[in-house]
Symmetry: C4
Subunit: 374 residues, 4 copies
């Protein structure tokens, strides 16, 4: 751990971004077809190590079904448009037509509509009806209020996701969510986060979560660093949380908590790097906002972007480049890492000589300012 003295009164650790990391091939190579990228969490097995992020611009009930059929998992945001409106399609269409200057303000207005509890169950059932694994997200602030509706609807995987989620929320006002007790009593596996340090992750693992989100999510357009000053670069965050997994495995006598990297991965190379640094799977949003089926119509935004008092993200124009299937499995017709994400991952692993994800976590990496041109 490199700690530098910033000034006489303060020191800090040097932390690294994915852009500073390069994967180094070993002395072996393999054929991409002989590589497995399957991932299993709790009782659920996926052909690809990917959770599509709970963001209205990428996950609707129908895209959740499509992603499931393509081998992955998509989490629906239960605090987004699909639980605020019977039919959010006109609003999604409108959001795509807004000028940049007006977008933040109008998103704030649209999302001021209250959540309708009955829609929570209905959306989950729409996805379940298609026979794919269901996942749905609440923020920690609203989990106590709405979780029953989620469980009753038969969700498979419960996602509690905020910018920063801690195992110990201190409050003198309301009774905050006691994560440990809540997860203990729940019958479904819970994925919880974000967090970005060894200690915060270890505490989240002790709550009984099946998976922990490493990173602060937020989508490509998030501005957390500018607005809050909060920033832990992803490479360091993932490698720290992965170390917590290893230590918790020992402490718990064998409970393996999955580390799901969440935030800042918009190209296939970023996904490979996250897994190389120790993640078991990744949560990503922006790559899928480029799908023809994406509800965002070529735009992308996260829940930070419409916070009523303090928006911390912008609506990004990402364009439309191909079907969900192409984006996940190719063939790709572009060379920028935005299509055939899973084919690229297979090739990275094959080129580096690894045959499954767990092995690939050991691949050598280098640190270099020029690893990925921006």
């Amino acid at each position: 751990m490199t700690v530098v003295e910033i000034g006489r009164g303060k020191s800090g650790r040097r932390a690294y971004a994915l852009e500073e990391i390069g994967i180094v091939p070993s002395r072996r190579t393999r054929h991409p077809d002989e590589v497995s990228i399957a991932w299993q969490i709790d009782a659920y097995r996926f052909e690809i190590p990917l959770v599509v992020a709970p963001m209205d611009s990428v996950v609707s009930p129908s895209t959740a079904i499509a992603v499931g059929r393509l081998g992955g998992l998509a989490a629906l945001d239960l605090e987004g448009l699909w639980t605020r409106f019977d039919d959010p399609e006109p609003l999604l269409a409108e959001a795509a037509e807004l000028g940049d200057a007006a977008a933040t303000r109008r998103l704030q207005e649209i999302y001021a509509e209250p959540i309708k509890e009955e829609l929570i169950g209905r959306r989950i059932e729409e996805i379940r009806a298609a026979g794919v694994t269901t996942a749905a997200r609440l923020s920690p602030q609203r989990t106590v209020r709405y979780y029953k509706a989620v469980i009753d609807a038969g969700v498979d995987i419960f996602v509690i996701r905020g910018t920063t989620v801690s195992a110990e929320h201190v409050s003198g006002q309301a009774e905050p969510l006691n994560l440990k007790q809540f997860i203990y009593e729940l019958d479904v596996p819970v994925i919880v986060g974000g967090c970005a340090t060894y200690t915060a992750a270890l505490h989240l693992m002790r709550t009984g979560a099946a998976g922990v989100l490493a990173g602060f999510g937020g989508g490509s357009g998030h501005t957390t660093a500018a607005v809050l000053g909060v920033a832990v670069p992803m490479a360091t965050a993932i490698a720290d949380v992965a170390a917590a997994r290893r230590d918790y495995l020992d402490e718990s006598g064998g409970r393996y908590v999955h580390v799901i990297a969440d935030g800042g991965m918009s190209r296939s190379g970023d996904i490979a790097k996250a897994l190389a640094l120790g993640a078991d799977a990744v949560m990503a949003g922006s790559p899928f906002a480029r799908a023809t089926q994406a509800p965002g119509h070529g735009y992308h935004w996260g829940s930070e972007s419409h916070h009523p008092d303090l928006p911390r993200g912008t609506r990004l124009k990402v364009g439309t480049i191909g079907t969900l299937e192409q984006i996940l499995h190719g063939p790709s017709t572009v060379a920028d890492g935005s299509m055939n994400l899973m084919g690229a991952l297979r090739r990275t692993m094959a080129t580096s000589g690894y045959s499954d994800l767990k092995e690939f976590q050991r691949v050598e990496v280098v640190v270099t300012p020029s690893a990925t041109p921006r």
Copy 2:
């Protein structure tokens, strides 16, 4: 302290900018409403840890009153337009109409008008009459000549601010300001600076100042580094001066001198970082030049920008985005860290698990070249 050898004949310390710093959440979180950001210096208590910088583009008597009512403190520049002209409004309006090429030259002309001593008292009284805490600024060069007028007008907090102010100004010509004796004899608390190193700060603290400005101020448009080659990045400057506060506290048997970070903080995240690095409060200008009430009409400049022989700053177009109240307390309608500065600070502290500013100075930080995109 990392000292690097630049070449065989010279070594220098590695210093860090705010852009290189990221705040790391701890394992706890809180609710923003349960966070206190109050600040007290001498007998004066403020709801927010903010001094608006003595710059003509942001502080007029009326905006000083408005800031005071919103919980902060604004310092009027007693060497600016308000003491050179009975009615500076037409000149402020003209400055906003100048083309960029002509701006420096015309500002030099406008500021060639002599200071009128009688206006010093009148301006301070205008602010006092509103019942808010008053602060006013002189440069060290003019303090001896004008301070009586300032004191007589009943200022609450006296600010002596230059790019670099030292406790020991060496001169063979005129009798320079003896800061120690001056502050001793004065009956009001003095804030003095800028300075950027441990030693310079310690000497300023020994003069009896109530607060020390850490950094060289100068506004977002200052070009001190290009013109003078002088540059100490803010993160290191703040952490060094904070260490001087701690050591002086011991040396003096308990006198706590406030460290006010001054310079280069244009986004809410920068303010949070400055406090995380050890500042007790911040002095900022450019964020308030964007207020509808700002005297600069959407432009921003500091006193460096109109130096008669060696201008060291440019007039910046910053635009107008909302009222002073919105900029300080929200709600924000943009996502770039320029609005709801104090709401953002509360949220950073809450997200990081801290409940007051003194505790927050202990928050963990990381060093990373990619902390804040520019």
Copy 3:
């Protein structure tokens, strides 16, 4: 070796790009005319240490002949247009007319045409007939299938080149290429790569190769880092592979395997740096795409750019600046390092005080982020 801790669970070595390297003159200087830049590999001697990369935009049979006459070596890509089409000229002309958006897709279509085995021999013979040294390239995947045709046609130097080539390709499906046995049985010298680490290079050297490509090639427009996350900056790759050469020399009792830097050298200064870091020669493509004779008509692309499922490179517009002779030997009429590449190399060596390439590998270098402006 500087190893940094990225996070608690992962460390990586700090690696360096050519852009971060500067050559330092010694205390002697020489005249450029008294410098030798000759290079010999196996029985073949070249006046210049340069292999033009097997890319359709730069090497056709006629440019291969021209390069040979100018003192260098050019390798024809036997999986490119010249073995897929009787007359590729119309397709090369068409590729130069495509808009950027359509280029990747159309290149994929054009290269879908199967390789015609009879053209392999014909192309090599066209070059041989001119009396210059011939070199031709296959990928490791197709070497087993086509190498006989190559040998039968009387190629002088056999190039096996892929993004990453390992001595140990693991496969459960087809019988992979056993490099060691293959090279042993072959009667011509083999150049094989790319590779980027000491260990991978050492294993390639043990196969009996005459030369090893250090780097991942791919041309200026390659996007391997974005698509695969794979990245080892060239300066570190070259210096590592050069160390493998030294250690293998001892291990083998005196076999000197040539290190040919391959990738990312588009300016004369880059070539000098590669040699300064330990390369014996360089393989380069993009500088020659700017020749009036270049088959790419002012455009440049590598084989990665038309991969059917996962393109990892873009077609770059590089323009046309002069004849092959001017680009290699001057006189130059531009100041950006794109002309008189060999004259520049002589001058670098003369300025630094070295008289041949082997000595020049010992020249002092510095590491600095600002070595070459981009």
Copy 4:
């Protein structure tokens, strides 16, 4: 000295650019009027520590006279237009009218005109006649041929300047310049360079030179790094050469050889940094190309830019901002460090608490990537 391992086969020292350096004020301040920036080399005393670089775009006989009257020294390039043409004014005017694309080629043509020996003496005498100190430059290649004409004309200071000049030029062809013997026999003080390392500088000092140029000169538009790969950042070069001065002082029993920083200083802050790092004076060109009197008519180029075979610099448009007097001594009407260079230097020294140049070499500096925005 920080040496980093680039790869297993090569290590290099970390070197620093002026852009990475910031000057740190001490705990004292002074008034700018009480600062001396006088410089004395051999018998010649100057009010300012500045040599204007021998470049046709800045030094003509008339600007040399003007600079001398303003307290500095200007060196005429004896291999430039003033010794090739009776009246170069029309060609200077033409050069300023050329489009960027044609400039390099046309400059090559213009400078193909042979040097006329009789003009050497005439130009020096024109300057001498005005009563200012004269300095004139030859390259090491032409020194033997033309130095007699220079001495006969009564030059005061002889400048031998090339990109890299060594004390030991190795050649099998012509008898090279033996610097040590040449300088010993000469009756005027010699300034020689550039060089960029401790060892090269030490050897140049041992030739008997009065001053050594630290850096590779070349003007703001030089492209040495791109074309040759040669790059030693200025901060490290100056600090290394200054250390050679100190050690040679001891070795020689008291001979003080002046270190003149040469290259890359286009703003006043850069000049201050060079002196802070140990230079006794600076040689600069581009700031003076902006003078109304500049022969380049708002354009700037060095001798590298018109090399017949390998140009290594571009003609830069720098514009015209004021008189030579304003650029040197102000008043300035811009804030970018391009005017009132000497006033800025005084202020830097005053702000930092130093009263003469020799003391100022001890000022504290920091290393930071963000010292000067580009």
